[in-house]
C-alpha cells in the first residue's frame, strides 16, 4: 500500500476534485481517535489511459475506527466532477447505509470543500450503528454495550467494532474503544509543550478487546496523547489494572478513568505544591536566591551564610512530585567577596 503525503496525493487528484480532498487530508479528523488523520492511498483514474494527467478520481480512504483502520474506496468521475461519489466499504460488504439519512449525499454540493468530509462522518455514524447491531450475535457483549450506553459519560464517546463470527469455533470477538472523560486542561503547559508534533486534542482512549463472546479473554489497553503521556511521566508511569474475571465494562471503565484522573490530579497538585514550595522559599530567603525553575518549579538554589560559613542549598524535585532533595555545598566567605 503506497502511503502518500497529502501534498503528493493532492497533486495527482483531478483539479476539479482537489478542494474536496484538501479538506479531507488536512482537516480530516473523524471519530474518537482524532490524533490520526485520514489518509489517502491507491490513487487511480476512471479515464482512459490516453487522458492527460492529473486525472485521478478514485482512491482508498483510511479511516481509524475503534482501533481498526477502515479502508473505503471512494469513486468519483473526473469527467463529471459535480456528481457525488460512490463508495465500496471494503470487507464490510454487508454494510448498506440508508441514503436518506445522509444529508450531504442527498444534497451533494461539489462546490463545498467540506462536503466530502461531512459525508464521511455521516457514513461513519451509520457504520457505528451497523456495528452495534452486529453485537446482537452475543448477548454478553450486547449487555456490555447497553450498560455503557446508559452512562452519559461513556455512551456518547464510544466506538465498537464487532469482528466476524468464526464459523468453525463459533467465537465472536469485539472491541470497545472509549474516550475517557478526563480533564487534562489543568495540566501545566510546560508539561505539554515538549512534543515533537502537534498532537491535537489531548485524549485518553481505553481499548477493551473481547476475544470471545463470554468475556473470558479480555485485553484492555490505554492510549494517551503523546503530550499527556509525557506529562504523566512516560509510558511506564501509568499501569492500568487487568480486567477482572467476571467483571464488566461498566465497572471497569470508571475504575480506569478514576485511576487516570487521580494521576492527572497528582501531577497538577504536585505542580502547585512545588510552586507554593518555591514561593515559600523565595519569600523567606528572597535575598539568597541564586536561581530557581520558574516554569516547573523543580529547582531552587539558595546562598546562605552562617557565622562565616557560606553554603549553597540546592533544592530540587522531579516533575509531578513534591519530593525535594537538598544538597549543601560549602564555600568560603572570601570567595564570595
Amino acid at each position: 500500500m503506497n502511503s502518500l503525503s497529502p501534498e503528493v496525493a493532492l497533486s495527482r487528484i483531478s483539479p476539479e476534485l482537489r478542494p474536496l480532498l484538501c479538506s479531507v487530508v488536512r482537516n480530516g479528523r473523524v471519530g474518537l481517535d482524532s490524533t490520526n488523520c485520514l489518509r489517502i492511498t491507491d490513487l487511480k483514474t476512471g479515464c482512459t489511459s490516453l487522458t492527460p494527467g492529473p486525472c485521478c478520481d478514485r482512491f482508498k480512504l483510511h479511516i481509524p475506527y475503534a482501533g481498526e483502520t477502515l479502508k473505503w474506496d471512494i469513486i468519483f468521475n473526473a469527467r463529471d466532477p459535480e456528481l457525488p461519489p460512490d463508495f465500496i466499504f471494503g470487507e464490510d460488504a454487508e454494510f448498506l447505509p440508508e441514503p436518506s439519512e445522509l444529508p450531504h449525499l442527498v444534497a451533494w454540493d461539489a462546490g463545498d470543500p467540506d462536503c466530502l468530509l461531512q459525508l464521511v462522518k455521516e457514513l461513519l455514524q451509520q457504520y457505528h450503528q451497523y456495528q452495534c447491531q452486529r453485537l446482537r450475535d452475543s448477548s454478553r457483549l450486547l449487555f456490555e454495550y447497553d450498560s455503557l450506553l446508559e452512562d452519559p459519560n461513556y455512551g456518547r464517546s464510544m466506538e465498537i467494532y464487532a469482528g466476524r463470527k468464526n464459523s468453525w469455533t463459533g467465537e465472536f470477538s469485539a472491541r470497545f474503544l472509549l474516550k475517557l472523560p478526563v480533564d487534562f486542561s489543568n495540566i501545566p503547559i510546560y508539561l505539554l509543550k515538549d512534543t515533537a508534533l502537534d498532537p491535537g486534542e489531548d485524549v485518553a482512549l481505553l481499548s477493551v478487546s473481547f476475544e470471545d463472546a463470554e468475556a473470558t479473554q479480555v485485553f484492555p489497553k490505554l492510549f494517551l496523547s503523546p503530550s499527556i503521556e509525557h506529562a504523566l511521566g512516560g509510558p511506564s508511569a501509568l499501569h492500568i489494572p487487568a480486567f477482572p474475571s467476571g467483571g464488566c465494562l461498566i465497572d471497569y471503565v470508571p475504575q480506569v478513568c478514576q485511576l487516570l484522573t487521580n494521576k492527572v490530579q497528582y501531577v497538577i497538585q504536585g505542580y502547585h505544591k512545588r510552586r507554593e514550595y518555591i514561593a515559600a522559599f523565595l519569600s523567606h530567603f528572597g535575598m539568597g536566591v541564586v536561581e530557581y525553575d520558574a516554569v516547573g518549579f523543580t529547582k531552587l538554589t539558595l546562598l546562605l551564610m552562617w557565622k562565616d560559613f557560606c553554603f549553597l542549598v540546592h533544592v530540587s524535585s522531579c516533575a509531578g512530585c513534591c519530593f525535594c532533595a537538598v544538597m549543601i555545598t560549602k564555600t568560603h566567605r572570601h570567595a564570595l567577596n
Binding site: R58, I75, D80, F87, A93, L96, P99
Partner: protein, 422 residues
Amino acid sequence: MAASISGYTFSSVCYHSANSNSDHEGFLLGEVRQEETLSISDSQISSSEFLHIVEVHNHEPCAQLFSFYDYAGKVNEENLNRILKDRRKNVIGWYRFRRNTQQQMSFREQVIHKQLTNILGIPDLVFLLFSFISTANSSTHALEYVLFRPNRRYNQRISLSIPNLGNTSQQEYKVSSVPNTSKNYASVIKEHGAEFFDKDGVIKDIRAIFQVYSALQDKVQAVCAEVDQSERVKEKIQEEVKKLKEEISLRKRITAAEERRHQESLNTENHSLQDDSALSDSSSPPSLTRVLLQSPPLEVSLDWPPNSTALPLYPAAPAPPSAILLPRPQAVGSPGHPSPSLGLGNGDGSSSDSLNRQAIGQEDQLEEEEEEEEDEDEDSSEYENLVSERLQSPSLTDTAVSLGRPAALWPDGDTHSSGGSS
C-alpha cells in the same frame, strides 16, 4: 444458475465501455429459461435437477450516469421507461463499467439494484460488473467481469460463459439460441435476401441440393423397383426350374420303372428264346447308354453352400453323351465327398464305395441293356425326348442368360449358376 452472453453482445458492451471516458452503465436484455434434467442411476430411480439459465441477447446502454436515479440512488421510473421503452419486458439485469476498482458492488449499485428488482418485478435480477484494470505504466490492461446475483445471500456470483470463446479445438461449435434482433441485419437481409433466399426464407442452394437429393432418391427408388421386379422374375424362373426338375425326375422314375418291367418281361421271353437273343452291338441305341451313363442317382444335392466359391463339379457346358462317368455329387462333409475334380474317387486315391457301386451298377446295367434293342429304342426315344427337351429348353436358358445369370442346363436337369443360387 448459469448464464451466458453472446459474443457480439459482450464485445459490444466492452466496446461501449472501453470508449467511455468515465464510468458507464446500461441494461441487459435477454431471457431466462429453466431446464430440467432427469437422471436415472442405480442408486435412485430418478432425480430431477432444475437449472436456471440466463441468456443475454442484447444490451441497452445509458447515455450518461444518473440518467434514471438521483444522488441518493432513488430510481425514477419515468426516466427508466424512457430509456427502456418497449424493451422493458426483456430486461434481465443491468451492468456497470468502472475502471480501476474492486470487483465488488458499490453502495449506490446495491441501492439501485434493490429498487430495480421491485420496479421491474424481476426477483432474480442480475448485475454485471466490468472492471478495467491497468498497470501503473499502462503496459498491461485487463478487462474483468463478474456477474452478480445480488438478491441472493452474500451477493452470489454466477459464472458467465461466452459460447464459442475458448478452446474450440476441444469443443463443438455451439449454435446459440439467441434470436437476432438487429434491425440493420433484418433490413439488409430483406434487401439482398432474394438473391439467396426463396419466398419461404430458405437458402436457394439448400433447396437445389435438396432437389438433387430428391432426384437421387427417385432414381434409387426406380432402381429398387427394377431390382424387385427382376427378383420376382428370377424367383418365378427358379420355381419353373424346380418344377421341371421334379417333372424330369418323375419321368425318369417312370421310365426306369417301365424299363424294369420291360426287362423283366424280356428276361422271361429270353429264357424261351435264348438262341434268338440278339446281342446289342455297338450301335445299340446310344440313348439308352446315354441314359445309363448319364443318369445320376436321384439324390442329387441341389444345396449349394451359400457364398461359397466351390468349384462346379460339372463342367459349364453340357457334356456329350459319350462323356466319361461323372462322380455323383454329394454334400460337403459327407463321407466320400468327392474332391473338386472331374475325376473319380476321393482326393486320397481311393474311391467311394457308392461311386464304385454306381459305376459298377451302371456298367452291369449297360451290359445287360446292350443286348436289348427294341425296348431301348422306346426308352431311348423317351430319353431322347427328355434330352431333346433338355436341349430344347434353351429359351429357359436364354431367359436366364438374358437376366444376367448364366446358367447351364445339364441333361440331368441340374442348373448351375455362376453365383450363389437362392
